[in-house]
């Protein structure tokens, strides 16, 4: 067993981990980056389509190009990187963390004052969406289908059905079509699409791939290989309507039914998760309820743009580098029912003087509304939006130092619609 001491250990070498490691190093920390796969870059390695980096670099980059910009930056610095290294356990020693790893070199323990969890998210699988029937080959998550197509050069489907209208599903509908597969349709149980509007247009409508809203897959058929699926319409509670079932013959079912932040390590450390985001509840520095444990990127909440991930991770990396044990005076940032969530979930009053970056999503589509933030009932911030859609996250920079906050303050985020405006 070997042990070495770092200021910051970053777990995960995807876009979040890369940005966090670079930023922690640039803030003066001695940094170790741990990655379980052979290559850095995370999911971006297989996201060969373009559209990444418009906010961050003002350019339309492919996933590999975006990731490799950060990988080049990382290599230009003295940052220790261990790939093919898996974290098995973390001990909180009170004044730091002992990170147990296993790699081809054997088991090792690395020690650090602060941790950045950049562990990303996982796709929801067929088992998690309760599809009945046999267990044939040919049922893939969109990410697995993407891995086969874009990294292994194998075609996972000739004639397929896609369940769920998340962005990866839409991207894969186009990708498989380009590679000669027939995509029979994208079925979405919700009455509105889950992916970005531009992806509906450039991935489905451009290729005449039909989108069926309020439809789901209820059953799969086939012994060794998938032979077909049963499709049914669903009601507003997303329950299949009896009598609407029909069979569609296909050799693959591709699932794009949601992403869940991966936080097994976080939970083993006693990190409290927010049921709304399924990621850790953090303060404005991306620090969880456990002192010295920071979280960023898709492990914190599922982002729709990698540009936001990089920005948020750089903030977490810097905060981890500058971390010294101190008392926090946290107050909650409370979202109303109109909002799916607000990140961060808390605000440290000692840091209220700094600018605070906040991300939020509306619960449903809104045409013309105002986001309003109140502190102790008084409006301290408002902003008008022409459109808000749940798949499209919004970002704000706030100045809570101007809100006269105290430890008992209640800060609330809500939406005001035109009809409510008229009543005022």
């Amino acid at each position: 067993m070997t042990a070495s001491f770092y200021d910051v250990i970053v777990i995960g070498g995807g876009p979040a981990g890369l940005a966090a490691a670079i930023s922690a190093h640039d803030s003066g920390a001695r940094v170790l980056l741990l990655e379980r796969e052979a290559r850095l870059g995370g999911i971006l390695k297989q996201c060969i389509h373009d559209g990444f980096g418009l906010l961050r670099f003002g350019e339309k980059l492919s996933g590999p190009e975006y990731a490799e910009r950060y990988m080049d930056e990382l290599r230009a610095r003295e940052i220790d990187v261990k790939t093919l290294t898996f974290v098995t356990k973390i001990d909180n020693t009170g004044d730091g963390f002992r990170v147990h790893t296993v790699s081809r070199g054997g088991v090792a323990v690395e020690t650090a004052r602060a941790l950045v969890l950049a562990t990303g998210c996982r796709e929801r699988t067929a088992k998690q969406v309760f599809i009945h029937g046999t267990r044939p080959a040919g049922v893939f998550t969109a990410g697995t289908a993407q891995h086969f197509t874009n990294l292994l050069g194998l075609q996972p489907a000739k004639r397929c059905v896609i369940l769920g209208s998340g962005d990866i599903g839409l991207i894969m509908a186009r990708r498989l079509t380009l590679e000669g597969a027939e995509v029979l349709g994208v079925y979405e149980a919700k009455p509105t699409p889950s992916g970005l509007t531009r992806n509906l247009h450039q991935c489905l409508y451009d290729f005449d791939i039909p989108l069926y809203l309020s439809h789901t897959v209820t059953r799969v058929f086939g012994a060794d290989r998938l032979e077909g699926v049963e499709i049914a319409e669903v009601d507003e509670t997303m329950t299949p309507i009896p009598g609407t079932e029909r069979r569609v013959d296909c050799d693959a079912l591709i699932l794009s039914v949601g992403l869940i932040p991966e936080n097994e390590l976080a939970q083993s450390l006693g990190v409290r998760l927010d049921p709304r985001t399924k990621g850790p509840a953090c303060d404005g520095d991306c620090m969880t309820n456990v002192d010295g444990v920071f979280c960023c990127g898709n492990a914190l909440h599922v982002n729709d743009l990698v540009d936001y991930v990089s920005e948020n991770a750089a903030q977490a990396g810097k905060a981890a580098a500058l971390y010294r044990p101190r008392e926090r005076r946290l107050i909650e940032l409370q979202p109303s029912d109109d909002l799916l969530y607000v990140v961060p979930q808390t605000l440290d009053l000692q840091r209220a003087g700094d600018a605070l970056t906040v991300y939020f999503r509306a619960r449903k589509e809104e045409n013309g509304c105002t986001l309003e933030i109140t502190a102790d009932g008084k409006t301290v911030f408002s902003k008008r939006y022409a459109f808000l859609r749940p798949p499209e996250m919004e970002q704000l920079t706030l100045r809570p130092g101007e809100w006269n906050l105290s430890e008992t303050s209640v800060v609330r985020f809500s939406l005001r619609r035109p009809e409510q405006e008229a009543q005022r």
Partner: protein
């Protein structure tokens, strides 16, 4: 009057296009790029293509590529066919050209990842672990 969703950036502006005496009136765009997209969408719709090209290297069986500029939308599958006929036999890096002026459309097919060089230097250093070893 035609309605259109801009695909230039993730904002996805909803635009309206009206034509008057051959002049286009575009509203709803958030920036200049949106107006340019709307105009091109009406007169000469173009798209980029991102795909992979086969390689001769077992550690990296396919290499991600894209085209250097947008091509007419109806030429996408022709360019895909051309790319599928190609095999990369040298360790090309990011930005290198795989196919010059594909189908005479003025767009080159360029590599978007350094993975081939990365695995090569790693292979020399280590023991030849495949970049795709772990799913």
């Amino acid at each position: 009057m035609k309605e259109l969703v801009c695909i230039v950036c993730p904002r996805g502006c909803r635009m309206r296009i009206a034509e008057e005496n051959g002049n286009l009136q575009i509203t709803g765009n958030g920036c200049k790029r949106g107006a340019a997209f709307a105009e091109s969408e009406v007169r000469d719709p173009r798209r980029t293509v991102c795909t992979t090209v086969r390689t001769a290297f077992p550690d990296v069986p396919v290499l991600p590529v894209r085209i250097s500029k947008e091509i007419p939308k109806d030429k996408i599958f022709d360019v895909m066919r051309e790319i599928s006929r190609t095999t990369v036999r040298t360790r090309l890096g990011r930005g290198d050209i795989v196919l010059e002026n594909a189908l005479g459309l003025g767009a080159d097919v360029i590599v978007t990842s350094n993975v081939l060089n990365e695995t090569e230097s790693e292979r020399r250093k280590n023991d030849g672990t495949s970049a795709c070893a772990d799913l």
